[in-house]
């Protein structure tokens, strides 16, 4: 599903040049659940941003579903993203001014789904993450775990082929964290490919494969399943 080859990303400020990704290559198959681990600054988040089409690589190839997309423009990337990729962030990133229902509905609006169908889909996915009873609440009124469940719901409501999760349990206590991980596993079992960046060995064990990174390169891969 995803094949990246010799991917490079370099951040430059006036004085410092930081190599975030150093000729990185990897291959991720459809339906896989992959955890990316490594110390801070090893390039995990950069990788996730590029995989999520939020950022451009400086060099290398990125093939998504057999299409080379390394040089897509912003509009093309946005189109590809909204139909194929869902995001889960460490800090949830829900819109404070929208209710739970409206937050989850947002991706459907941008993909042009009809209102009646939107309602059905949102309710379905809210049931799935067991947050239906809170549908009319605002994010501030929810606990962290609940907020992250909403974020997961938002990530999957469009039936994306790929979910990118950036330390999804980083701001949660362990029981809430486990709930979210169960949820992701569930999604994966239903066929969604998941790439998750994490610091937590515990969480990583939910995945099929752990990729460990250092200084912008992969160092080891552990196959768990």
């Amino acid at each position: 599903m995803i094949k990246i080859t010799a991917l490079e990303k370099i951040y430059r400020t006036d004085e410092v040049e930081t190599i975030a990704l150093n000729k990185l290559s990897m291959d991720i198959k459809k339906g896989e659940f992959v955890a990316v681990m490594g110390p801070s600054g090893c390039g995990k988040s950069t990788l996730l941003n590029i995989l999520g089409l939020l950022d451009d690589p400086d060099a290398g190839s990125f093939v998504f579903n057999d299409t080379e997309i390394a040089h897509f423009n912003e509009r093309q990337r946005a189109d590809l993203r909204k139909h194929n990729i869902g995001f889960v962030f460490q800090s949830f990133n829900l819109i404070d001014e929208l209710t739970v229902f409206e937050n989850v509905e947002l991706p459907l609006i941008y993909t042009g789904v009809k209102p009646s169908e939107r309602k059905k889909k949102v309710e379905e996915v809210l049931e799935k993450v067991q947050i239906m009873h809170r549908r009319n609440h605002y994010p501030q009124q929810l606990s962290g775990g609940q907020q992250q469940r909403v974020a997961v719901a938002r990530a999957v409501v469009n039936n994306p082929k790929l979910i990118l999760a950036d330390e999804p349990t980083g701001n949660l206590d362990s029981s809430n964290g486990n709930e979210v991980m169960e949820l992701l596993t569930n999604m994966n079992e239903q066929g969604t490919t998941i790439i998750m960046v994490t610091h937590s060995e515990h969480d990583a064990r939910y995945s099929h494969r752990i990729i460990r990174m250092l200084d912008g390169q992969t160092v080891t891969e552990n196959i768990l399943v």
Binding site: L54, R75, F87, L106, Y110
Partner: protein
């Protein structure tokens, strides 16, 4: 999608109420000012544009050289109208409209003085004033027909049917009401309360065929499809045809569509006219609106961080940049819409005051679909202008940096925002300086010595029998002790009604063509109005019976005559010899902004008087004096109302137009400052909020409240300093040019600029400091703990 946008917009509005209020209020005030000015402009542009035949109606003007100046003016011989119809196939018909005159109307016991004018009977066929009653073609056919406006009819007859009723004019002639015309709209040059037929002028023996007597206005309705240039060419020689000696006197026609805004001539060419004001006001309206929009941009972009996350998320879930731009512009249109409604309210409340100030009757045409369409367009435009910059700014955020929290906070004012604040304050400071200088110029002219004593001085026109009974009135006034001195003059003290050259005197340079102001007076002129005599004495017929051919002159006239000893010198004028008995200090007869002109005051034999001047007795109460005077006037002039005027009030009218300019620029500067301060306040609040952690750390490290307040206010003061540096030369240039139009003018002094600078700093300080101090006083533990 739209629903989602509106929801977000409204929730955002409610969430940050303070910002919303500042934003909307600023925008509303700006819009209200712009609407008021636009109403004024629309009114000015629509003058006499409602006539159905406006494309074919013209007015006849003269162009001729006097005193070395090529003048253009619009009084024409009475004989011109019929001549045009006869000699020019291009002219369909021609109408004379005489100048307005006061006439006394008597209906039963009612006595009212009303102003109106005689017109040719085809008046209603040319001009589109709607006749509610009467026939367009016949309404003024008989010499004793009269057409009243609706409200005149109501004044005279109340609710009774006015048609066919009889009105007595000036106690002499009876008129039958044959037509009622709808009250004149507020955008026409005509302002009659009734119309008389021209045949009445003939009946009174006031019509003439004299080509040398320019005394009325002549309009013409051209046939359709007439080439104006061809007609102009033929008109050039018309005057010469009937007055062969006038070889250089040309006539031309001026189209109705240009009357109001362009009919100002200098040396024979158009030189602006009211269109200059219309443009200036238009620019001011745009600027005020722009300033309000700038506020909006500033506040919206300052709050960008609060919206940054939303932008990031929307982008992550697939929003295109365009859809975000659309969303933010939509939001600002929504805000503009709310502001527009508030603005309409403000306009409705402010209109009466604005109308008084501008002497207009402006109103909003709520039942006009065009008004609503324009209004919506105006709101949309404002929304788009105000929302454009924030929309592009916000929608360009990169989701990665926003969502990962690496988004750089705006610690200092960002450059475009700085420019916007500078722009606002530049405009505000320019307006402050202009207002001060306009006021200064008015004060300067007001403080100028008028040359006579206006205290307790009233005047009354010699209406009805007053001239005949003048001596009786005078004697009674003096005997009753209501007045200490009375005289009669040809004109009010505030107007020049007559001037001319060609007087003869000893030692006159044959080439001298000095134009003297001519003024007639009975005895006691100096005593009554309090002139300062430099030489000689007042007119005094009791002691010097020959004073009926005496003359007094002002000092400027003496300079022209160059007499070593003026008293006793003979001035020949109009076949009569006048001997000079007195020289007085120049007094201001015309504009207080112009130098005084040489002036001759002719004695009683001049035989033309229009005004009685009364110096009331200062020992009595003015009301008591006036009551006594009224009784005396009633006794000798029973049919006419007692309509006195105070000379000082009349004199004050000379300043009205400048005072209006001053008031308007004052109001605009207050509004501009208000809007700019709202913006400044908002920005300061935001900055204080954003630097709360920095302030906390500084305080922990030992910074004092004063230190922090200064730190937070400094940025703003630098901006104001820059604005001041830009505004000063611009306003100096602007005011310098304005003052050049006044020969008698004040200087532009340094303190004006210093005052403006001080004022703007003070205002900015008030807007900014409360927030800075609040931030500086906050407990650092609180702000640091939340991080």
């Amino acid at each position: 999608m739209l629903k989602n946008f509106v929801k977000i917009a409204i929730r955002n509005l409610l969430r940050s109420k303070g910002f919303s209020v500042i934003n909307i209020l600023g925008l509303a005030v700006g819009m209200a000012s712009a609407i008021l000015i636009l109403l004024w402009i629309q009114n000015e542009m629509s003058y006499d544009q409602f006539h159905e035949k406006k494309d074919r109606i013209v007015e006849v003007w003269n162009k001729a050289t006097f005193d070395g100046n090529l003048n253009c003016w619009n009084t024409t011989p009475k004989v011109l109208a019929r001549t045009l119809e006869r000699d020019f196939p291009e002219v369909e018909q021609s109408v004379r409209v005489d100048w307005n005159n006061d006439h006394l109307f008597s209906v039963g016991e009612k006595r009212i003085t009303l102003k109106g004018s005689p017109v040719d009977s085809n008046f209603f066929q040319v001009f589109s004033f709607r006749l509610l009653k009467g026939q367009t073609n016949t309404v003024l056919n008989d010499q004793h027909n009269i057409v009243l406006t609706e409200s005149t009819a109501r004044k005279l007859f109340g609710d009774e049917e006015p048609m066919g009723k009889i009105i007595k004019l000036d106690n002499s002639d009876n008129f039958t009401v044959t037509g009622i015309v709808k009250d004149l709209p507020n955008n026409t040059r005509f302002n009659f309360e009734y119309l008389l037929p021209w045949s009445y002028v003939r009946f009174k023996g006031n019509d003439d065929n004299n080509w040398g007597n320019n005394s009325t206005r002549t309009y013409a309705l051209l046939k359709p499809g007439i080439n104006l240039e061809g007609l102009q060419k033929k008109l050039k020689t018309l005057k010469q045809k009937y007055q062969p000696e006038e070889t250089k006197w040309e006539m031309f026609v001026y189209p109705i569509t240009k009357w109001r805004l362009y009919s100002s001539f200098k040396n024979g060419v158009e030189d602006g006219g009211r269109i200059v004001f219309v443009r200036l006001f238009g620019i001011i309206a745009c600027f005020i609106l722009l300033i309000a929009c700038i506020n909006f941009m500033n506040l919206s972009t300052a709050r960008s961080e609060k919206r940054a996350k939303e932008v990031g998320i929307r982008k992550v879930v697939g929003a295109h940049k365009n859809s975000l731009i659309l969303q933010f512009i939509g939001e600002s249109i929504l805000l503009a819409f709310i502001a527009g409604i508030i603005a309409l309210l403000i306009v409705q409340l402010a209109l009466p005051g604005f109308n008084t100030l501008t002497s207009k009757q402006l109103y909003i045409q709520y039942n006009n679909i065009l008004f609503w369409l324009t209004g919506l367009g105006f709101i949309a435009l404002t929304g788009i202008v105000a929302g454009s910059y924030p929309a592009f700014y916000l929608s360009s955020f990169q989701p990665v940096s926003v969502l990962k929290g690496t988004f750089k906070k705006a610690h200092a004012l960002v450059t475009p925002r700085k420019i916007l604040v500078v722009l606002q304050f530049t405009f505000a400071i320019i307006l402050i300086i202009c207002t001060i200088i306009v006021k200064q110029q008015i004060n300067y002219a007001q403080n100028r010595e008028s040359g006579y004593n206006k205290d307790n001085l009233v005047f009354h026109f010699l209406t009805g029998d007053l001239e005949k009974n003048y001596n009786l009135v005078k004697n009674d006034l003096l005997a009753s002790n209501a007045a200490v001195s009375v005289t009669k003059t040809s004109a009010p003290l505030t107007q020049s009604w007559s001037d001319g050259w060609g007087q003869e005197w000893e030692g006159k340079d044959p080439n001298d063509k000095t134009d003297f102001r001519r003024y007639n007076a009975d005895q006691d002129l100096v005593k009554t109005i309090g002139l300062t005599l430099v030489k000689g004495r007042d007119f005094n017929l009791k002691e010097y019976p020959t004073d009926s051919t005496a003359m007094m002159i002002n000092e400027s006239a003496l300079k022209v005559f160059k007499f070593k000893e003026p008293l006793g010198q003979i001035i020949k004028d109009n076949g009569r010899q006048w001997h000079i008995v007195g020289v007085f200090k120049d007094f201001i007869l015309e504009s207080p902004y112009q130098p005084t002109r040489p002036m001759l005051v002719y004695g009683l034999k001049s035989n033309w008087f229009g005004v009685v001047q009364i110096k009331l007795n200062g020992k009595n109460k003015t009301e008591a004096n006036l009551k006594t005077a009224e009784a005396i006037f009633k006794k000798y002039n029973p049919e006419y109302p007692f309509e006195y005027k105070f000379v000082d009030e009349d004199y004050a009218k000379k300043f009205e137009s400048e005072q209006t300019t001053g008031k308007l620029s004052g109001i605009f500067s207050v509004l501009t400052i208000f809007i700019s301060c709202l913006g400044l306040f908002g920005l300061a609040t935001y900055m204080a909020e954003n630097r709360i952690k920095e302030i906390g750390i500084r305080k922990v490290l030992g910074a004092s409240v004063t230190h922090i307040t200064a730190l937070l206010s400094r940025d703003f003061f630098i901006l104001i300093l820059i604005s001041f540096a830009i505004a000063s030369p611009i306003s100096w240039w602007f005011m310098h040019n304005w003052l050049m139009g006044y020969p008698y003018r004040t200087d532009i002094e340094l303190w004006v600029f210093l005052l403006a600078a001080g004022l703007s700093f003070f205002i900015a300080f008030i807007s900014v400091s409360s927030q800075s101090i609040k931030a500086a006083m906050a407990n650092p533990v609180k702000s640091l703990r939340t991080e």
